[in-house]
């Protein structure tokens, strides 16, 4: 059966349509969730899409954190529900403390909008299991605040516990450097492009797999990530009742 996957729309979201399209390509039923919704409409998983939620005022993602729908998303995540944040969605998840770290202004001060390459660190997670091979995967980034930061102890922990999902890479698949390496578009520490939480059910990444799901979009390297998410949501949907949140 095709899982129902929510796509949260904040005022200022602009990649929600791409997320909806990617979910359809991957065989899921997208359900658009407005930010004022206090419930998730019984969906099997949730995507927080890219954009500039609430204008990115104050700090990217922070105002969105306090919206009614994010209260529902936090409860859903606490119950083990699958949540994927892409770009601005990743920023929202770090501000909401559902993911570790923070996303700082790009080291080179520029908004970057171009293709990058990333390699998955793990192929056995709900977000990467359908990728198949280690890549490098080619997909776009488009952000001004994507420099992943956490203190050294936290970074060590993330690496030790297998919470680093993706790193920026050069064309030959080797990991990008931190500074002065164009393969790392924003100066992210240890070239980290995506992470997941300790429980393994919430993940975020700055690049846009949802806009790289068909050859006509320039790359379909992102489809493996979307398909992983959709397959994992489908499994959970058939395993039993999806996690009930907020009186569905």
């Amino acid at each position: 059966m095709s899982p129902r996957i929510g796509v949260v729309v904040f005022p200022g979201s602009n990649r929600d349509i791409d997320a909806v399209n990617a979910l359809e390509v991957a065989g899921a039923e997208p359900v658009v969730l407005w930010h004022e919704n206090a419930t998730l409409d019984g969906v099997d998983a949730v995507i927080l899409p890219g954009g500039f939620a609430y204008g990115d005022y104050l700090r990217a993602g922070v105002i969105a954190r306090f919206s009614p729908v994010m209260r529902a998303v936090s409860a859903f995540a606490a119950d083990g529900g699958l949540v994927l944040g892409i770009c601005n969605g990743f920023q929202v998840l770090t501000e909401a403390h559902l993911l570790p770290g923070a996303l700082l202004r790009n080291r080179a001060l520029r908004f970057v909008s171009r293709q990058v390459r990333l390699v998955p660190e793990r192929l056995d997670t709900p977000f990467t299991r359908a990728i198949g091979e280690r890549g490098p995967l080619r997909m776009p980034v488009a952000h001004g605040e994507g420099c992943f930061y956490a203190d050294a102890a936290t970074l060590d922990e993330l690496e030790r516990d297998g919470q680093v999902l993706f790193r920026y890479a050069r064309e030959d698949g080797t990991t990008a450097g931190e500074a002065g390496d164009t393969a790392n578009p924003n100066g992210s520490l240890r070239a980290i492009a995506g992470v997941m939480n300790a429980a393994g059910n919430v993940a975020g990444l700055m690049p846009h797999p949802e806009t790289a799901v068909e050859a006509i979009l320039g790359s379909d390297d992102g489809l493996g990530i979307i398909r992983s998410f959709v397959d994992s949501a489908a499994e959970r949907a058939t395993e039993g009742e999806p996690v009930a949140v907020g009186g569905r």
Binding site: L58, A102, R105, R107
Partner: protein
């Protein structure tokens, strides 16, 4: 009572601050020497209505810690500016 506060938010020591670095980089163009360690933060001013100053300050503390700053990367300092004047925020 109505009190006016300012919350000064700045990047924590050691946190990369590309904005501060950009400002620093421009100093040479102005012919200024001897300036270093530029850090760019933000200042938020607000009026709080509460029973007394202690209660008002507690509200600002919560606001500063939960919304105005990200404790992972930013530090904040609260200033009490005094009684709120009706002119605050009014167009000049």
């Amino acid at each position: 009572m109505e009190l006016r506060f300012a919350v000064n938010v700045s990047p924590k020591p050691g946190i990369l601050d590309p904005q501060g670095r950009a400002v620093e980089g421009s100093l040479g163009h102005l012919g200024i020497e001897g300036v270093s360690a530029v850090r760019v933060g933000r200042r938020i001013e607000l009026t709080v209505s509460a029973a007394d100053e202690v209660a008002a300050r507690a509200i600002v503390e919560r606001l500063a810690a939960e919304l105005l700053s990200n404790p992972l990367i930013e530090a904040y300092a609260i200033e009490t500016l005094g009684a709120a004047s009706s002119a605050v925020g009014a167009p000049a």
